[in-house]
């Protein structure tokens, strides 16, 4: 980030080089300022112009800080029930009631739930699960999908055919239904209990979605492998491994990154839906649990009690809405920056 910003800050004609729409009068300066720019620098410049994408990115960075620093930010223990002091269903801080146990109090900004747990603190800790449940399946999906797609696209033949048939079936089997079946089938097994079901959730969320990435990469490879530079590499004696890792993979990274940006919110929503249905994570009752609750679980509890305490439902719902919005903005920005074919779509 620092490298690119210093580069644009130095010459006064930064807008001229960036958009190149209006010819600059000062030719000498223009040529002098032209430093070699990589695809990634270009993409970053393009991305930076999208204000919504930058706002989304900033929000996500903020959430990462919240997740890491949750113990410092949370005002109370998110698991400990404390009806004596906190009161049952205490209202949000700015709401006053006659009962001193339920009237708003700034030490419980969003009030408390039915067992006297601070909603704000639970919300802060919930960020952790949403982020890891979004990112870890994405990494698994990429680690499986990219190699399969590369090999299927490059080698063709039987492997390619099998992949296409499998993805055809996956397309017909809606992901959420599959997730539900997976969670019910394995949720009560020994495997489903590891880390309160977090490991099972990672598997569930990544076990079929890799096919989409594999198909995307395969398509890229099919288009790229006929290009002249690949032919040139092959003529100069490069093996399949070198062509794949040095030529095909780097040139298909753009669409892969864009796809990855849309996988994350999908996984976050799926976790929330599964938890809402009561087949997501198990609640962690340990006082020092690193992942005590998720926004999905909070929504589930909130949807039963929202008439008594509206923030139990409102806070986690808004949190999920904001994180998916942020990812969508970042994803759209990345697409405009990295996927030249869809440039017009904006």
């Amino acid at each position: 980030m620092t490298a690119t910003s210093s580069r644009t800050a130095a010459p006064t004609l930064a807008p001229g080089t960036a958009s190149s729409q209006e010819p600059s009068g000062n030719l000498a300066l223009l040529t002098a300022a032209k430093a070699p720019r990589s695809l990634w620098t270009n993409a970053w410049r393009q991305f930076r112009k999208n204000k919504l994408a930058i706002a989304g990115l900033a929000y996500l960075v903020f959430l990462v800080f919240v997740a890491v620093l949750a113990p410092a930010i949370a005002t109370h223990n998110p698991v400990q029930s404390d009806i004596k002091n906190a009161g049952k269903f205490r209202q949000a801080a700015w709401v006053t009631t006659d009962n001193p146990k339920t009237t708003g109090d700034w030490s419980y900004p969003l009030g408390t739930d039915g067992t006297g747990r601070d909603i704000f603190s639970r919300l802060v800790y919930g960020t952790r699960i949403s982020l890891i449940v979004g990112f870890i399946p994405m990494l698994v999906i990429l680690l499986v999908g990219i190699p399969v797609g590369l090999i299927a696209g490059y080698a063709g033949g039987k492997l390619d055919n099998t992949l296409m048939r499998v993805t055809d079936i996956v397309y017909a089997f809606p992901a959420l239904l599959f997730f539900i079946v997976m969670q019910i089938a394995l949720g009560d097994t020994a495997f489903g209990r590891i880390w309160n079901g977090l490991v099972l959730l990672f598997v569930t969320l990544s076990v079929i979605n890799w096919t989409g990435v594999a198909r995307l990469v395969r398509g890229q490879v099919l288009a790229l492998k006929e290009k002249e530079y690949v032919e040139a590499a092959r003529a100069s004696g490069a093996g399949a491994g070198r062509i794949i890792t040095r030529h095909l993979l780097p040139n298909s990274l753009g669409p892969i990154i864009v796809a990855a940006a849309f996988i994350v919110p999908g996984a976050i929503i799926s976790e929330a839906v599964l938890s809402y249905l009561g087949i997501g994570l198990r609640p962690d009752v340990r006082l020092d649990a690193p992942f005590p609750t998720s926004w999905g679980q909070m929504i589930q509890q909130g949807s039963t009690f929202y008439k008594l305490q509206v923030w139990m439902l409102l806070a986690p719902s808004v949190a999920v809405a904001l994180i998916t919005l942020a990812f969508t903005f970042v994803g759209d920005g990345l697409r405009d920056a990295l996927d030249p074919r869809s440039e017009k779509s904006a």
């Binding site: 017909a172 959420l176 239904l177 997976m182 019910i184 929330a272």
Partner: protein, 337 residues
Amino acid sequence: MLQFLLRRVIWVIPVVVAVATVTFFLMNRAPGGPWDREKALPPATVQALNQQFGLDKPQWVNPGEVAERWQAGERNPLALARAFTDSRYFNYMFGVFRGDLGPSYASKGSQSVQEIIAQKFPVSLKIGIVALIFAVLVGIPLGVVSSLRQNSLLDYFCLTLSTLGVAVPSFVSGLLILLFMTRQFGYSPVREPSDWEGFGQAFLLPGIVLGLGTMSYILRLTRSAMLETKAQDFVRTARAKGLSGSAVVNHHMLRNAMIPVATVLGPAAADLVTGSIIIETIYGAPGLGNYFVTSIGKRDYSMIMGTAIFYALLIALANVLVDVSYGLIDPRIRTSR
């Protein structure tokens, strides 16, 4: 065209087989039997129930039965093959193709899964129809208007609306709208069972919320497709011929802009089906999606399996319809295949 249609319909079969096999395999991994109750049933009852529903048979294939028949002097290969496949898996699969999804275990076998689906699905279908009508009738006009008045205030409003609709899942928007309605208008999500009979206004809110995502997609696609056709030569020709503005929009631009819009309807079908599971639960609509969630709570495995297969079939058929609709909208696709 007919051959193309036939090929697409036949492809539905392996899809359903694959989905049924995967769900059968996974559901059999689930711990606990179908007769587990809070108060344990007597072993004799469990045995009788297992026998009644063929659950005492082996899971995949039944070589024991073949050996028995062979000893008894049976030599007919067809009968032996049937004996070999007299297992829970094959019996279930044969049942699926006859439209028999087996008994619902939660009802102790008094009701079959297909009966429950037939009873609950109409409510879901009505909500789905409202959603689809809303998505098409609001999405397309808004998309057209916002493309004709590009960069106007209305255009920005439509863009914001569609961005929100695409990004925020119906699960969250459904809850937020419910919260807003209850707090601002005293709307009660709990309705009388009679409200869901016929085609009353009870279907309006769940339908609109369910269709919000699809509407936003259609709006976006219509807008960008219209903007693209705007610059095409045939539109300029049509204008040069002296056609009126509305004729150009209706006959030349809209028809061409509809091709990418038709492509959304495939994913939209999947979206509406899975969305209905959540939306019906949120709004308490007594449809199949809501019942599906109840059977998850009851661990009614046969009901879960049957509903999943039914949904997959529904989506597969919707995809066939979408493929056919391309051909109807765009003659070029019809001839090229």
